[in-house]
C-alpha cells in the first residue's frame, strides 16, 4: 500500500516545470489562450452575476442596519453583527432552531427509510413494477403549491379527509394545522411524502449499480434476507446513501413553500423554521426587516455549508481508504 501511495509523490514536483511550460506557451501567439478565456467567460460571468454577487449582497444586507428609507437611499450604516445579535436574542430563535432541526431530521429519516424500502421492493422486477414506480414519482412532479394546498385541505380540522377517516374509526378530530402541538408534525408528514420519490429514484439507481454477482456470492455463502441487506447491500450503497442524505438535508433545511402554504409558520410560530422566519422578516410584513431577514438566511446557508463540508470530508476519507 505504502509503495503505491508513494509512487505518485514525485509527480507532485512536476507541476513546477509544467507551469513553466505554460509560461512559455503564453509568450507564443496568445490566440489559444484568449480563446480559452473566452470559453470560460460565460460560465464565470454567470457564476458571478447569479451566485457570487447575490451572496455578497446578502452578507452585506445582514451587516447593515436597514430601514426602508436607508434601503432606498443606499446609506444604511454598517453595524457589524448587530443584526445577528438581534436574531440570536429574538424569542423566535430558539423555537425556530428546534423546529428546523426536528423538521429536517425527522423528514430525512423517514424519507430515506421509506425510499430505501421502496427501492428494494422495486428492485425485484415484477409485472407493472415500472408503472407503479412511475406513480410513486407523482409527488415529485406536482408543483409544490398544488401538493401543499391539497395537504392543507386534507388536514383541515373540520372538513378534512384525514379527520373524516379518523372519525370513521371513532377517533377524536385532530387539529392538524391549527394546534401548536400538531402543526410541525403535519408539515413534516407532507414533506416526507414529497421527498420519498427523490430518495426512491436515487437509491434505486444505486441498488441497480451493485453487481448481482456479489449478491449471488453472498447467497452461496449462506447469507440470507436481512443479513444480506445489512452486510452486503447497505455497505455497498453507502456512497449513494451519503449523497442522497446530504442533498436531502440541503433541500429540507431550506423548505419554505410547504410550510408557508400549509400553516404560514403558525399557529403563533409553532411551525416556524429558519426558512419561513427569514421570509417573514424580509417579506411577510408591511414593513420589511431586510437586515435580520438576511441574517437568518445566512445562518441557513452556513448550516448547509457546514454539512456540505462534512460530506466532502467523509467522501475524501472513503475514497482514500
Amino acid at each position: 500500500m505504502n509503495r503505491v501511495t508513494q509512487a505518485p509523490a514525485p509527480a507532485a514536483d512536476r507541476p513546477a516545470p509544467a507551469a513553466g511550460g505554460g509560461r512559455r506557451a503564453a509568450s507564443r501567439p496568445r490566440s489559444g489562450q484568449w480563446a480559452a478565456w473566452a470559453f470560460l467567460a460565460p460560465v464565470v460571468v454567470y457564476l458571478l452575476v447569479f451566485y457570487a454577487y447575490p451572496l455578497y449582497r446578502n452578507v452585506e444586507l445582514s451587516l447593515r442596519h436597514y430601514t426602508v428609507r436607508s434601503f432606498v437611499q443606499g446609506d444604511a450604516p454598517f453595524t457589524g453583527f448587530a443584526n445577528y445579535a438581534e436574531v440570536l436574542g429574538d424569542a423566535t430563535f430558539g423555537p425556530a432552531l428546534w423546529h428546523t432541526a426536528v423538521f429536517t431530521l425527522v423528514s430525512l429519516a423517514f424519507q430515506f427509510t421509506i425510499g430505501l424500502a421502496l427501492a428494494m421492493f422495486f428492485l425485484k422486477n415484477f409485472r407493472l413494477s415500472a408503472v407503479l414506480r412511475a406513480l410513486f414519482l407523482v409527488p415529485w412532479l406536482l408543483p409544490l403549491i398544488v401538493s401543499s394546498s391539497t395537504w392543507s385541505w386534507m388536514f383541515n380540522s373540520d372538513s378534512g379527509v384525514v379527520n373524516a377517516v379518523l372519525g370513521a374509526f371513532g377517533a377524536e378530530p385532530v387539529h392538524w394545522l391549527t394546534s401548536p402541538d400538531w402543526s410541525l408534525w403535519s408539515v413534516t408528514i407532507a414533506n416526507i411524502w414529497i421527498g420519498v420519490p427523490f430518495n426512491l429514484v436515487v437509491l434505486y439507481s444505486g441498488l441497480q449499480a451493485i453487481d448481482p454477482a456479489i449478491h449471488e456470492a453472498a447467497a452461496l455463502d449462506g447469507a440470507a434476507g436481512w443479513q444480506r441487506f445489512w452486510k452486503v447491500t447497505f455497505p455497498l450503497l453507502r456512497p449513494v446513501s451519503a449523497v442522497t442524505l446530504l442533498l436531502g438535508l440541503v433541500y429540507t433545511l431550506k423548505v419554505f413553500d410547504i410550510i408557508w402554504i400549509m400553516t404560514r409558520g403558525g399557529p403563533s410560530g409553532s411551525s416556524t423554521t429558519f426558512a419561513t422566519w427569514s421570509y417573514r422578516l424580509g417579506f411577510g410584513n408591511l414593513l420589511p426587516a431586510f437586515g435580520p431577514g438576511a441574517a437568518v438566511g445566512n445562518l441557513l446557508i452556513v448550516m448547509a455549508l457546514f454539512f456540505g463540508l462534512v460530506y466532502i470530508r467523509v467522501q475524501r476519507k472513503q475514497s482514500l481508504s
Binding site: P8, A9, A11, A12, R14, P15, A18, A19, W37, L40, A41, V44, V45, L47, L48, V49, A52, Y53, T67, V68, R69, F71, V72, Q73, G74, S152, N156, S157, D158, S159, H175, L177, T178, S179, P180, T263, R264, G265, G266, P267, S268, G269, S270, F283, G284, N285, L286, L287, P288
Partner: protein, 422 residues
C-alpha cells in the same frame, strides 16, 4: 498523478477567479451603460412613455381598467406602459425600483403600504405633485397621511361586514334585526349551533390578513392600537376565543385566509361570515339567500372596520418635470366621471361622497357597504404610519396564540403589547 491533476485543477481555478474578476467588471460597466442610455432617450422623446404599476393582475389588456389607463394616457398626450404585480410583491418591487432609480411614474398600492413607502422617501406629497384631495372622504384619506402630509389619493375603498345566510337563520329562529351588539350576536350563534348548523367563520391566519379581520372587533370594543392589552382589547380576543371554545366558530379559522373562510360560508352551513366587499360577485353565485349587516360594536352601533383598497401615488423621480403629466394621469383616474367606472370595475366603494351616491343609485345593494366604509378607519391612521406593522404582527400572533389555546387572551395580549412597544 492524482495529486498533480489536483494541482493543475487548482491552478485552473485561480485563473478562473482572475478572469472572473475582470469579466465581472466588464459585465457591470457594460450593463449599466446599456440600461442608462435608452432610459434618458425615452425621457427626451416628445410625450414619451409613462409607466403605471398596479396590483390588479386579474385585469388583462382587454379589461375596462386597462382601457381606462390607455384613455387617460392619450388624454395626457403620452403612452402608458402598464405593469401589474401581485399585491404582496408590489411593495418590495417598488422599494427595489426606487433604490435603482427607476420607480414607475404612477404607483397604485395597498393603503397600509403608503406610509411605508412614504417613510422610504419613495412617494411625493400632494404639495409636490399638486394632486387634488379636497373631495375625498377624510377617514379614507387618513391612511395615506403622515405628519400632516398626504402621499396619494385613494382610488376606491372596501371594508369588512358580516354576510349572513338567511335560510340558516330562519331555521334557527334568529331574527337578524335582533343582532345589534356582541351579546346578541353570540346569542344568535348559540341558537344556530343548537339547531345543528354552524355559527360563524372568519380568518385569523398568521399574516396581515388576520389582523385585518380582527380589527373590527378590536376597534369595536373601544380599544386602541397603541395599547393592545387594555381590558377592551383583551375582551375582543376573548370574544373570538370563546366562540371557538363553544364551537360557534370552527377551529379552522386559525388557518383560514379570507378566501378559504368564504368557501366555508359558501358551503351553506354557516350562519355568518366576516368578509369583504370583493366577495359580492361571488355571493350572487352561492345559491342561497344572503344578507349583509355591518359588524356590530361591543355595546351596539357599527364597529369601525379597517379600510381596504389602494392609493394612487406619484413616486419620486429625478426628472421632476414628469410630475405634471403624472398628475394628469392620476387626476384622470380619480376624477368624478371616471371614478364611477374605476370603482365599478374594481368593485370598490368610491372615495368621494358624490360618486358613492351615484353608486348606490345604480346598485342599492351597495348601501350597506357605503355605510360600512363611512364608519371605517385606516390601519395606519391616527398618525400610526409605520408603527402599525410593528403592532399588527404581535397582534395577529396574540390572536393565534389565544385561539389555539397556547395562551390565555390576557397573557397573549400582554405579550403582544410588550413586543409592539419594543
Amino acid at each position: 498523478m492524482m495529486r498533480s491533476a489536483a494541482m493543475s485543477r487548482r491552478a485552473a481555478g485561480l485563473s478562473l477567479a482572475a478572469v472572473a474578476a475582470a469579466g465581472g467588471l466588464v459585465a457591470c460597466s457594460s450593463s449599466s451603460g446599456g440600461s442608462g442610455a435608452p432610459a434618458s432617450e425615452s425621457q427626451a422623446a416628445a410625450g414619451g412613455n409613462y409607466t403605471i404599476w398596479d396590483p390588479y393582475p386579474q385585469h388583462d389588456k382587454s379589461s375596462e381598467w386597462v382601457k381606462l389607463l390607455e384613455t387617460c394616457g392619450t388624454q395626457a398626450g403620452v403612452t402608458v406602459e402598464r405593469a401589474a404585480y401581485d399585491t404582496s410583491d408590489l411593495t418590495n418591487k417598488a422599494l427595489l425600483a426606487a433604490q435603482q432609480g427607476n420607480a414607475p411614474d404612477v404607483l397604485i398600492v395597498d393603503n397600509p403600504v403608503v406610509s411605508t413607502l412614504a417613510e422610504a422617501g419613495v412617494l411625493t406629497t400632494t404639495e409636490e405633485n399638486k394632486l387634488d384631495t379636497s373631495a375625498i372622504a377624510p377617514n379614507l384619506l387618513a391612511a395615506g397621511q403622515s405628519q400632516g402630509r398626504t402621499y396619494g389619493v385613494p382610488i376606491g375603498a372596501n371594508t369588512l361586514a358580516l354576510y349572513y345566510n338567511k335560510e340558516v337563520l330562519k331555521k334557527s329562529g334568529v331574527d337578524i334585526a335582533s343582532v345589534k351588539d356582541w351579546a346578541s350576536l353570540t346569542g344568535a350563534l348559540e341558537k344556530v349551533k343548537a339547531s345543528g348548523k354552524k355559527g360563524i367563520t372568519f380568518s385569523a391566519i398568521g399574516t396581515e390578513e388576520g389582523s385585518f379581520q380582527f380589527l373590527p372587533w378590536f376597534w369595536g370594543s373601544g380599544a386602541q392600537l397603541t395599547k393592545l392589552d387594555s381590558p377592551e382589547g383583551v375582551s375582543a380576543v376573548a370574544l373570538w376565543t370563546d366562540w371557538l371554545k363553544k364551537g360557534y366558530a370552527p377551529n379552522s379559522v386559525i388557518n383560514n385566509t379570507q378566501t378559504t373562510s368564504w368557501q366555508e360560508f359558501a358551503g351553506g352551513e354557516y350562519a355568518f361570515a366576516e368578509n369583504g366587499t370583493w366577495q359580492l360577485a361571488n355571493a350572487e353565485k352561492v345559491g342561497f339567500d344572503y344578507g349583509i349587516i355591518p359588524i356590530p360594536g361591543k355595546n351596539g352601533g357599527t364597529a369601525p372596520a379597517p379600510t381596504g383598497g389602494e392609493f394612487v401615488g406619484i413616486p419620486v423621480q429625478k426628472d421632476t418635470a414628469r410630475y405634471a403629466t403624472s398628475q394628469k394621469l392620476v387626476a384622470c383616474l380619480t376624477n368624478t366621471g371616471n371614478s364611477l367606472t374605476t370603482t365599478t370595475t374594481l368593485s370598490y366603494v368610491a372615495p368621494t361622497e358624490e360618486v358613492q351616491t351615484k353608486q348606490v343609485a345604480q346598485n342599492p345593494g351597495l348601501k350597506v357597504w357605503v355605510e360600512a366604509v363611512k364608519a371605517a378607519k385606516g390601519r395606519t391612521s391616527d398618525d400610526l404610519g409605520t408603527k402599525y406593522p410593528r403592532i399588527s404582527e404581535p397582534m395577529w400572533g396574540a390572536v393565534q396564540a389565544a385561539l389555539s389555546g397556547s395562551k390565555s387572551p390576557q397573557e397573549a395580549m400582554t405579550g403582544a403589547q410588550a413586543a409592539a412597544a419594543q
